[in-house]
Amino acid sequence: MKKSFLIYAFGALVLIAAGCRKYVEVEQPGRRVLKLTSDYDALLNSVFTMNYGYSLPPVMADDFEVTDVVIEPRITNAIRMAYTWSENVYGDLNDADWDRYYKQIYVCNQITDGVMTSEGGTEEQKRATYAEARVFRAAAYLDLVNMYAKHYNEATAATDLGVPLVLRAAFEGVNLTRASVKNVYAQIKTDLLEAMPYLPPQPFRSTEASQMAAFGLLTRAHLYMGAYEDARRYADSALKRNNQLLNLAPFVSGTAFPPKLSQPEVLFLRVNGSSSFVHYAMSRELQALFTPEDLRWRVYTVPGTNYPIAPTFAGRGYVGHRLVLIDVASGALTGPSVPEMLLTKAECLARDNKPQEAIDLLNMLRQNRFLPAEYQPLVATTADEALRVTLEERRRELMWSGTRWFDQKRLNQEPRFAKTVTRTFLGETYTLAPNSNRYVLPIATKYIQLNPEIQQNPR
């Protein structure tokens, strides 16, 4: 009796066990095959992956200058190479900027490939996530094409080499041949414009994509393309969604500067990706553009001897991004902002021979950049003068955002603004001629060895 009971009991257990492969298929908290709409959406919220961008453009731009020998030995290899516009920048190593953008593009492609068939989301949510991914992808391509290709030139854009246009997440059968500059810009525009109807006008957080971010990027793209009429139109669209300016006056009387997420001027929060480069020393040329009353000078910059990161140095350093030391993201802001929209619009107006309208916009900005007692409106009578004043204001306002490098590239195409830059480092002098090949970053040798179809830039 006992014997048979044991046998039956055992037999039953074996049978139960046999049908039990489901036993091991247990849900893991927080870790699963990518399938839920909310998972796709959350991928875009990883600030560390999605909102960090380039590091080399601000180093190459003429806003930066090393004058104190103390900093010289502290500058790491890639930064040193970029600063001196060397032929080879990355050696045998990876190009961190390139990797960062293509990682973002991979994530966006995962989303555009899969979110529409994902589970657990409404059609509306899926379309919104799809649209946001396209904004992030466009933002990455806009930076890439301006770093690794010649500046957009309507005459040659169809043949100038842009960057590989990867539009789906796969490892095989992806064409890595560099698309033309024109095609890359076309893709940027398509992504942004097609995404627009599904985006919220304003985001919950400025790290997220929105209409104001998309219009900000469209403004930037069209300015770089020289399509001033379109750029102005898009700037207006962006400003319609956000035109708040941050008055800097309280911050010279002890008020704490707002963390990045609370800064009203940000249209799309993207930051400089460098972690090793910390001494944002201002060039003497940039310093000379400021008057001591300028609140940007007083709030965003400090004497090098008072720089928050050791060692301190002679000269003056930019600290705008360090006013809140540990924040949602470190690094200077690089994404589109309300002041950038105003300045772009002003530039377009000046170029359209509307100097007074341009100057009015600048003064609107400058009222927030000086104490009322010290504010003096700018004046310009001719369109040329207005343009010159606008560009100067642009340089002051957007210092250390990295856009200066792209402006240098852009303005060199106009002989009246073409400029030769020289700098001295460790006893050697380096010169960068207007429209030099050195304005176009090389592609890391390693990547070309892996995929020889990627063509190198002449240096």
């Binding site: 014997k3 044991l6 046998i7 055992f10 066990a17 091991v24 247990v26 893991q28 908290p29 927080g30 870790r31 699963r32 095959v33 998972d39 959350a42 919220n45 990883s46 600030v47 030995p73 502290r74 790491t76 045998d92 190593l93 990876n94 990797d99 293509y102 990682k103 991979y106 994530v107 995962q110 990867v166 997440a169 796969a170 490892f171 890595l176 919950f204 997220e208 911050f251 010279v252 009387s253 002890g254 008020t255 704490a256 963390p259 997420l261 007083r298 400090v302 001897t305 008072n306 928050p308 050791a310 060692p311 301190t312 006013l323 030391l325 540990i326 949602v328 390693k446 892996l450 995929n451």
Partner: protein, 1014 residues
Amino acid sequence: MSFQRVTHKVTVGNAPVTVTVNMRVSQLQLEGVTVSTGYQKIDKQQITGSATVITAKDIQQSPALNIMERLEGMVPGVVFDVRNNAIQMRTQNSYYGDAKERMPLVVIDGFPAIDNYLTTNPTTGLGRTDKATNNSVINNINPNDIESISFLKDAAAAAIWGSRAANGVIVIETKRGKVGAPSVSLSTAVSISEPADLSNLNVMSTKDYIEFEQELFDKNFFTDPASHWRTPDVSRAQQIMFDAKNGKITTAQRDQLLAELGTRNNRKQLNDVMLQNAVTQQYGLSVSGGSGNSDYYVSGNYAKDRPVFRSNGTESYFANVRVNSRFLQNRLNLSTYINQTYSKSQVNMAAMNSLQPGQFGLRPYEDINDPKYLMFTKAVTDSFTRLGYFPWSYNAIDELHQSKTTYRKNSSRINVALTGHITDWFSLNVDGTYQRTGAMVEELTKENAYATKQLVNEGTSREANGRLTYGVPKGAILKLSNVVSQDYTLRFGFNFNKQFGEHSVHVLGGNEFREVKSEGYTQAHYGYDLQTSSGIVVNPTTPYKTYLSTPTVAFTKTLGYADAIINRPITRYLSYYGVANYDFKKRYFVSGSVRFDDYTELGLERRQRAKPFWSVGTRWDLTKENFMSSLLPVINNAALRFTVGTAGKVPVGGNPFSLYNASAVDQYTTLPNGTISTPGNPDLRWETSRTFNTGLDLRMLQQRLVVAFDIYQRRSTGILVNMPMNPTLGWSTIAYNTGEMKSNGFEVAVSGEIIRATDWTWSGMFNIAYTNTKVTDNRFGTQAVNGPTYVGPLVGYPVDRLFAYRWAGLDERGQSQIYNAKGEKISSFAPKPLTIDDIKYVGRATPPTTGGLMQTLRYKKLSLTARVAYYLGHKMFYDPVGAPQLPSGSQLSGYLSTAKAMADRWRQPGDEANTNVLGISNINFNSINWFTTSDINVIDADNIRLQQVSLSYALGSLGKRAFVKNMNLGVTAANVGLIWKKNKVGVDPQYVFTSSYSSLRPSPNYNFSMSVTF
């Protein structure tokens, strides 16, 4: 326990009567040693596979503190890396994976252990702090409770434990009670060792160090602290140099002051103040016995470990209860085992930090009593103190008492095994085990600890009226982390064991469910008050003003920690297993095993997730054959063994679908966020390997000489290889099953009694193992290389290949040059893309030949044992300069490299003819990297070490009536030292100089032990 029915013919008067007696075979009567596979125990004389057994007696013969130390050199083919707490059994069968992934499976009393280590270092892997070792070690199982440890090395072992046993299996059996009167045994051991001798550090003299600073000074590496209030303080020597430069003192005064400084040396002071003798105490008590239907074994153990670094220590407690009970005329057997372990360890880094380069390290001439000013000069620090800030200085002696990290680990393990004997040849069993481990880390930094002062001072701003505002609450900081792991296994099995005439058949099988899960979280408390045990609630994302703020400009900061994470991983396993053994006349043995494993792995289809593994083996006892009979007087026993089997590993690290990994909600954006942890790759399959093992067992000369020989070959296919991918596609590597490799090796173990006399015995053990691996397929085109340490597996080379640059001397700037394949010199200032031909193969990184030797000499009750371990045939990089401490871009402050070789550095053009040691101007990353990984710094790592010498006195049995039945006394010296090394640079290959104390060879350790049985 097995039962044997013995039939005796007894004559009662004139009538023969047959009496059948059920006899229980006593363990003492079992001849030889048994191997435990975790599922069954097999006589060593009947096993088909390759196994080594270490018995309780062997373990006791080697009374080191650490169980790994006791085993080092004792098991052929198994390398115990005591320093890194890793075990490698035979060869690796994959290209990648760290030592942890290559660990064999550890099985305790039939169930896998919750963590696969024999020992744990309390400071690693337990939570938020991952700090270096403090030398304390906790044995995860009490050495005194071990009955035997079986090392199962071939496929026969792997197949029965399935996918987790690809690296071999270690099966530990704990002691059981014996029927009889209670036996009480008491053991105690104390061991003492001095701190390692600081004068053995291969460092330059104080004078050379000052001269080194002088060179850096002359080359403008340092900033004058007088230049600005925020310039960090400099060393005493540098201050003297600045004073001379600024005209405060004359050159003659400078030279005199520096010369005086050069005569100082703080080694003795550091030794006296920061170090202490390491002392370990162990006390154990066990009671065992049994009667009639039950037996028991109860033991308790306490160990206290005080390492050489002051303010550190570990305590551990063990308690075990094992009860076996038999019911229903011995038809039902219930075995219960309960184990409880508690350990507590305290870590303080001050002593260790004072002895190694870095900001807290002491320069050779610095006095440990003097405060160090790390942020500012003394004058600036003092003015901060006057404003009400905490004194912004560091003192290592104070720090010993200001911070401590406490690790507490509490683990319980309960095993219950119920066996029902339905007939005497068939039984069913239900076994279960439940383990629970709670690990808690408590990191306390008191109010006056440097780290706290730093954080609080930094967050303190001064208002216009002079009042201080504290952004970070004043008080201590307490960080807690807590992880609870739970593991249960439930097993249903049957056991068939029957003799059919001369055939005997033993079959067992069953299935198994297992779940492993854990839950962990962290907490931080600021402004913590030790008296009331309460902290102040802070918002980690609210900015607060820093000390740099002025009444007009605000610099702010947030604490920015993320505590909201609760980790809850869970994994389940489902297995079916079967083992069959058959023998004919105890002469021909055949064995087979099969196992099917399935477990939780995301993104894999059922088909790809589980795979059956099998093994078959045979054994032929030659001595039972007639043709061997003439040899019997010499060869008592000879047997040939053969096994073949498969093993495999599920492709972790690669998935056909992209895996989403949710991260903690971003503290700033408050948005849920996640990343893709593994990209989708539909072509993945299992890594599999097939192993052949052939062995020969010999017993000769009245069992006085025992030889075991094993030779094996393994072929692994479908090895996951991280293929370099163009980052343009989003990833820089993707795993593919493209690798293949072969490995082979042999092991010989010889043990014997050389002299066997009444008063004298001389017995010894010797073993040697050789391994070799070869990559046979790897499609990864290793054309471009980023240096010798980045070379992937290459076809034709061993998996543990070591490559080096070809050194071409220093250039006229004192920096490295290398030769490429064409023999051209390449400068570190103009590096060129290199290919595999530009670097050269220098040898294997792990020892191909390893083994040990143990000799015991006994005279009456006194015996002397010596144990030697050796590692031969490998190469290693030796960094003579302490490259990480070289003054490069980021390392200009604090304690610089004090490596002796740095005294011979390049100083001026022309020196390159006489030295290979880099100069410090123009130093760059390539130059340092080339120097440390070039062929001039490759050394032979062969070494032979005397692990232990011990002397013991066994009082032996004092008679049954005596109160004390047995007594042993012993003295052991461990870490006795190096007997031989091949390299000529004076480097102990196991303790290569890395400028710090932790690289010093430990001093000999003296252990006094006593055990008494009542």
